[in-house]
Symmetry: C2
DNA sequence: TATTTGTGTAACGGTATGGTTACGCATTAT
DNA sequence: ATAATGCGTAACCATACCGTTACACAAATA
């Protein structure tokens, strides 16, 4: 198949996103691919520490690595985030519900103030 | 203020979502508030284990607890998920980009097959 | 009052995280 | 050939996580 449908583990994605440094790495890669060293230089922690974060991100398929000379270019792969997004989808309705509740509350308060029964 | 704008730690939310059991607890609470014991009975692990997951969820403000007789009712609070959602927002554009690339690819393949130059 | 029920916490153990320094190994530059 | 650069991995450490069993304690029930 030319366009195989790949499903990534939601588990690995959520787990990878748990660490703020890893999220920051992803945020960085939104601006474009970068070699590992350059990524590391953007953070106050050691290069091996970043290397390990990159390994986790690779494991979660959130980044793709390709060798380019003596560099390892890292590229963002947003695909697994879709799973996260669709998990969240179920909750969006609640935000709307809360907004509706707030609206109802405000309106009932208003009704009180103006003395209207309903 | 009657409706203070509360900002929760994105950090705690992402961290809480890292565990599949905790996500499942949230999924369960979408159906309505439940006492701790009933939540625990829905899982194959011990009650204290669930109790600790609930503590983490509380810490992340993803659930609210209120005492009701000898029960502790847990209610979903989707609020902190907004932060997760807005982090994700930055990545949605990439999915669309990928879809566009796919579309462009398919169209160019089609063009080849039909011999059309564009 | 004595007991059962519902729930959190303490203490403990195994494993994963997240960081560090030391090292190994390609690849490029001298 | 030798040195420098870029990067992953190994070994190690401290701390957090996730589970367990034992316990404490308030609220409902007998």
């Amino acid at each position: 198949m030319r366009h195989p449908k790949v499903t990534y583990s939601t588990e690995a994605a959520f787990q990878a996103l748990a660490d703020p440094t890893r999220r920051a790495v992803l945020d960085l890669l939104r601006q474009g691919s970068q070699p590992a060293g350059q990524i590391a230089r953007a953070f106050p922690i050691s290069r091996p520490a970043i290397s390990k974060h990159l390994r986790l991100l690779r494991r979660a398929h959130l980044v793709q690595e390709r060798r380019e000379g003596r560099h390892r270019m890292y590229q963002l792969n947003p695909e697994p985030l879709k799973a996260v997004d669709s998990w969240l989808e179920h909750y969006r309705v609640f935000w709307k519900a809360n907004l509706n509740n707030l609206k109802a509350f405000v309106e009932s308060e208003y009704a009180k103030e103006t003395g209207k029964s309903e």
